[in-house]
Point group: C2
Chain length 196, copies 2
Amino acid sequence: MIDDRALDQLFRTARTANGFVDRPVADETLRALYDLARMGPTAANAQPMRVLFLRSAQAKERLRPALSAGNLEKTMAAPVCAIVAFDTRFHEHLPVVFPHNPAAKSWFDGDANATARMTSAFRNGSMQGGYFILAARAVGLDCGPMSGFDNAKLDAAFFPDGRFKSNFLCNLGYIDPSKTFARSPRLSFEEACQVL
Amino acid sequence: MIDDRALDQLFRTARTANGFVDRPVADETLRALYDLARMGPTAANAQPMRVLFLRSAQAKERLRPALSAGNLEKTMAAPVCAIVAFDTRFHEHLPVVFPHNPAAKSWFDGDANATARMTSAFRNGSMQGGYFILAARAVGLDCGPMSGFDNAKLDAAFFPDGRFKSNFLCNLGYIDPSKTFARSPRLSFEEACQVL
């Protein structure tokens, strides 16, 4: 079993960061985060998640017009803001990443499968977003994930060819606990689950 | 930092189970799984994921007609098959689960917000699906997640009023390593990420 300290760091006492202390995030830390996150399972091992880590002032300025007012200041001040996106043509990698079944690419090819492709990219890219957040915590980072931004504006600025689509943003750094909100309640097992 | 054994169990050496040994999964284990998974962050703390844990033969029989041929036998034989679903009316819980902002429910209310509601339920329900899989591994379970089933048939059988929608299935138990496939390759940092 995994010890209580690890479960606290990943799940139980970890908190969403609304502000970070003045400490940079190293390249090696971002690589360690991704090296863990990529190991989580996805349908047909397709791994549709793509990530842009915005760290430079220039990159942050390109993001600024897409941010909602409530997320603007804290995101511009964060050491890193990750754009967690997905590849709408993830299936082009299947011959390499899913060698078990050479037919897998055909499940997602062409206009007839456009909806299946988008649904799978969004579902599995979001599951990978969950792995991403827990992997960030596992390497000692704190996360501030957000949906409050203009996806179309962001995509026009960062993904102009339309292949990648933004999913959510995640500020990354080392938490300033003075800016953390009180913990909000979670649904109980009885509210969210049933055993049949 | 979290120790290597824990990182292996959660991310690095954990494998998708295609078969399980003959050992039941206790109620306490399913509750421990959910108690961890529910702590992961979601937009406005909305927690749209809902889970039906199918353990009895009767419940499995209701699932059978929705399973694709390749997933049928292993799912019927699994100690538990979890239907990971989401609540399309998750926003009704916001006044309780997101006390910070009493206006939050209005972001998702009514026909005008139907798309925002569905997008948020699918994104955050899938991120919670990622937390669910890692939480299952944290409590010592092995996972066999699947998208190969007929969502409409499943929803008609288990969620006839239309409020909950199935997202993916996840077999749960203790892995039989003799049925595990060879590890498929993961995309490198350079293939999936960029630092700007």
